[in-house]
Symmetry: D2
């Protein structure tokens, strides 16, 4: 065990996502047998005191105040990008060109053109054995992995309906503060890119089909919000007085879609909805697929379950709640006995596991930047359609 080669990680950013990634790097080797031993070598952030405190808290060995320094260091093999979306392209490209593997949080970028540049660089880096992955972590939630496995096995038959929702409510309060997530310059978009991107990726990945076209509607319910004096994370409560600034992103995104159908089968139709105003829905990341033979449904608010309907059992069929905690299920055998559920952060740990295994095997990890670019193209088509009277818009502009 002492012989295992290291994988030395440098992380950029240390907020919500940084905490989740740090936990994953620390924890993965404790429950899984990894071919490379992750080392939490350095974390970068602009404020020296804060980054030092974060390093101590999260378990990083050293700090940098400029992400460029991180990339220059010889003792780092992989750059883990947890910074806001507007920085993704520059950091990822620099890292890949410097021969570092990259794990980049989603959405990949704030625009298709950035994502295209990143993908081009990632493709050529991969040819040199330098790999990249985009952090659509929900793929590694065991129940969604099992969903993918069931679809791939043919259990669903031809997929006809995709029903994807990501419902949150943390902006329902009109006095929630104006954070960077509500500033288009930093975040690229609102609910669409933040949470809509997750359900687009999940839907495409589980079905094995790409979204080919969309008709969309975007809405901003609360146009101005209190300016936050300082960084306030997800879910913070703002004040009711003081100056207000404009919300420049969408509060909610709705779109219908047609999928490309993949291998010889006709494409499904889909309905997508992403919002932070669905009062009472806290993290309802949901995916339902209706096939010609079976259906499945997932809701992150009951994240250890997958609901499955098999028409072969008719007339005594019914959606059954599979507790995705069996040893035979994806990832779960490495954790606890059946019925002892996992939590949100486990998907990040599984992401690290799969990434490390791919790197060690010299194989492209999934999702690739190209996969993430496809998500970005869907996001763009949604915005184009929404700005053009919801007119049907092909993804990729083809």
């Amino acid at each position: 065990m002492t012989e295992t080669k290291s994988l030395r990680v440098g992380m950029v950013g240390y907020a919500f996502m940084g905490a989740a990634h740090s936990h994953a790097w620390r924890t993965a080797p404790r429950f899984f047998d990894l071919p490379l031993a992750p080392q939490l070598t350095a974390v970068a952030g602009r404020d020296p005191e804060r980054v030092a405190a974060a390093a101590a808290k999260l378990g990083w060995e050293s700090t940098e105040t400029d992400w460029r320094r991180l990339i220059q260091r010889d003792d780092i093999d992989l750059i883990d990008i947890c910074a806001p979306g507007n920085l993704h392209a520059e950091i990822a490209i620099a890292a890949l060109e410097a021969g570092k593997h990259v794990l980049c949080e989603k959405p990949l970028a704030n625009s298709v053109s950035e994502a295209e540049r990143m993908t081009a660089v990632a493709d050529s880096a991969a040819a040199r054995g330098v790999f990249s992955m985009c952090g659509f972590s929900y793929r590694r939630t065991p129940a969604l992995s099992l969903a993918k496995r069931l679809v791939d096995s043919g259990a669903l038959g031809e997929i006809r309906h995709v029903r994807a929702q990501y419902l949150q409510d943390w902006l329902s309060d009109a006095n929630a503060p104006l954070t960077w997530r509500l500033d288009k310059a930093k975040s690229g978009s609102g609910s669409l890119g933040d949470i809509g991107a997750h359900i687009i990726d999940a839907a495409q990945w589980v079905t094995g089909q790409n979204v080919a076209g969309v008709s969309a509607l975007l809405e901003t319910f609360v146009k101005e919000r209190p300016i936050a004096g300082d960084f306030v994370g997800l879910g913070g409560h703002g004040g009711t007085s003081g100056p207000r600034g404009p919300v420049t992103v969408d509060d909610a995104a709705i779109f219908s879609a047609r999928f490309d159908g993949g291998a010889g089968s006709p494409g499904a139709i889909g309905v997508f909805e992403a919002t932070r105003f669905a009062l009472g829905r806290k993290n309802a990341m949901r995916l339902e697929l209706n096939g010609s033979k079976a259906s499945l449904a997932f809701d992150f608010e009951d994240m250890n379950s997958l609901w499955f309907y098999d028409s072969a059992q008719e007339p005594n069929a019914g959606f059954r709640r599979i507790q995705v905690t069996e040893p035979e299920h994806p990832y779960t055998g490495h954790w606890w006995p059946v019925g002892h559920g996992l939590g949100y952060e486990h998907a990040f740990t599984h992401q690290v596991v799969d990434l490390v295994e791919a790197i060690a095997a010299g194989k492209q990890p999934s999702p690739s930047f190209a996969d993430a670019l496809q998500v970005q193209r869907v996001l763009e088509a949604v915005e184009v359609s929404a700005a053009d009277e919801s007119r049907w818009t092909k993804v990729g502009g083809a």
Copy 2:
């Protein structure tokens, strides 16, 4: 009790809907104190033997083989139309002009122009004390009635999201037979008019807002089906061989919508989906509303419950399952003790109760033909948008 004046009913049609209506006419006076005593005077159908059998089975005193005869009879006060949609306009107009009250099944008609003519006739009849009602029976499901009551009380605040689905699966089998419901000439449309109409009406009624514009997509998954040798009702299973004919209606309808907001408040945005291909969903007529203060959710597959989220209870808030069976709840005090649920047909009985009370009071029953015309206009806008690249389409063509 023997003094109660009669309300003599003549019903056209005696299939699925006819059975439900007959049960309602028979049962309403047993559990409610009605101001007029319904009398099941006559039922009309083309085949003399069948209509006689139906009359005996369903409890009607006499029969006619031509609905026109029913209208001519002096001993009939109200015409109850349970025939296919393509006959609604002619029958309803003739009945109203003959001074008979009318209860007409939904959708009101197969086109906006028919519905407009019917509404005009209904309006002038109402001025003469002859009333009409459209059978959007789901309004009388106690849980949906309670939803309406909660919205009207202001409990939800400003409504932001409407999420309406009507998911069935009885056409998932590509060999289900080609019944009249799949023939556009008779049914007007497929899932859109049959079940989509219900969620449009429910959403508009509960929110108190009208749909102002839509962007839509229609899909027919199975283009040809076995020709049914004879009438086959809802849910029948067809053969796998023999001749096939074209399905001329939609299998699924998806649309996004904007509501007109009603009294001074901004309009909600909505997502609608109607399909008969959601394998495993049997009668999932669902409505969820997210407001600025509270949310509510209903699913007909658990029809005696209404889920309600009240933000005033935060941080210990949560969707609560109200069992809508209390004496204080709409209609339920006339039935059984709390927790003893009602079934599908009770909504029809409640419909009769409300209709009879309105007629006795000389008041317009709800939903009026005008309400149903508004639904019809939404259906039309959906079809126009779907035929025009999902482009945003105003309801009413304004």
Copy 3:
């Protein structure tokens, strides 16, 4: 259809149960093809005005003020007993000896000795073609009938656990009035006989096993309650001042049990709980069975569903929610399309259907008085054990 012979019914009592039975007699022939046509010939009650009003409301052709007169009448074939439990034995025995079939509400009697006498009379009457049935109506809830069918098919394997609960909350309020149901002289017992009897019958019937022994605990939480000035039905709310009287029955009953195992298999163990103090549980009549191959679970608060777990599907097994509304399911094909649920009173209609069919076929209906006597013996054993430090008590005192 006009040739169908009549079955002329005389009903004793017209409160809650009388309304449910009347509805069933009226409705059964409308949805089912019955071999005998039920006729609502007469209803008996002590107060002439009230019984006349009830007859008009519920649809009975004539009235009597003494149940003995009902039994004397030549134009009555069946006596339907909806009176309180302390009258069951006398009426049922008189009716059977007069050659009338009997439908008797549960519990069969207020003591084992009464029930034994009734059963002896019923047995000898049956030999003469005069039949009797006890109204454990829940058996005819389609989901519980399907449960029975699944157990009988061997799908569960050897049954190990029975988990039966009947949870209500209408006595949680310490000021709910002192009705006849809280008076041991009239009701025999409290939650035990009223609702406990239902789960005992359901558990024995579905498993095909009898309870062989019990260890029990009874509790009365509220010892005195406001005296109701007049009859107050189930769920009434009493006053907070005025005189109070003693509650002489149990508020809650808990017992563990061993089943006799039936045909060659070892007996299951069971846990039973009946209470009217489970705040928030309105009519949670629940039954769960765990077998060696499969499990099933039912809750009346979601009465159209049966949850089924089949170990053959492991590792992707899970409890599935069967919507018991398919044409192939018990009773449901006579009603509405799939997913259109039934309500509480349908079980009474099904009870009438099965009773009429048994009488017409000259066969013993189920549950017989002997079946109900077995329930009574379990009730008695529970009371004996509870009075004797919960000591294990054999059912039947054997």
Copy 4:
């Protein structure tokens, strides 16, 4: 941060519980600000190779092959006992007498007399500032902690019913192997001590009442099982051939209980059931309380939720699903945004947090050995009652 004093831990055992505890020691300081910095100093196990491998995997700095050596070491402040129950007393007593704090897995011991000795030693150690805690980790599941908080606030009023179940199914297969958990000499008891102990502790802790008496039944469904060639953990699948040995513990335990009521209020009555044969129930650790004002219900299979019924909301009351993930909820503010659920192991991390804080503050941690002794007394009373015809048995033999 570097100034924080260490708390040097030595752990005995490294199987299922050892992995959970190790994760907790590693993770607690990453998400919580602890007054002492846990150090994973040494782990003890009999097999030198295995313990070395476990230390490397789980993150321990050194190893011992005899737990006595661990206690002798000067560089260890706390002994964490994850060994089988028959070793608890000896290790805990030795450790406390050596001045080490102790965290001991549950059940505290295999008999009341052992538990009494441990408690006496713990009490005198506490007087010297040496503390002990028993690992009833479920208390630290946020939803159960919230339940406790609600009860303590008086929200439930007087508690009348306790309904506690712990349902698993991993022994349903009659060929599951004969592990140490099925050997009374090592495990003390079967489902009773293993999982029954959890619901006894949870019920007593949340209600603030002790179980005063019980009537019980124990059952062993499968009397012989395949002898496992080697250690097989929880949930392992055994062979179908080969030698079999006797199961000497209970497969299922059922008991009714009376609680002592605590401060001036009458005691609740309870029903408890623990089994490993409830096919389909994987880890259904459930607790429901019905009070005079409110009720609550928890099921570990949906561990991030607490269901709460508040009668003040009647007639629109209903059980509401509180997602226990708000910043205001116990522990959860240290983790992720709302709706991002936690998993099984988080309770162990919270246990470490509370233990470390108590030690640093010089206060007795909870649950104390005395609390665990009370659980042990209930277990004993259950066994006594079950062996004596289920006769009512006072807890503590008073």
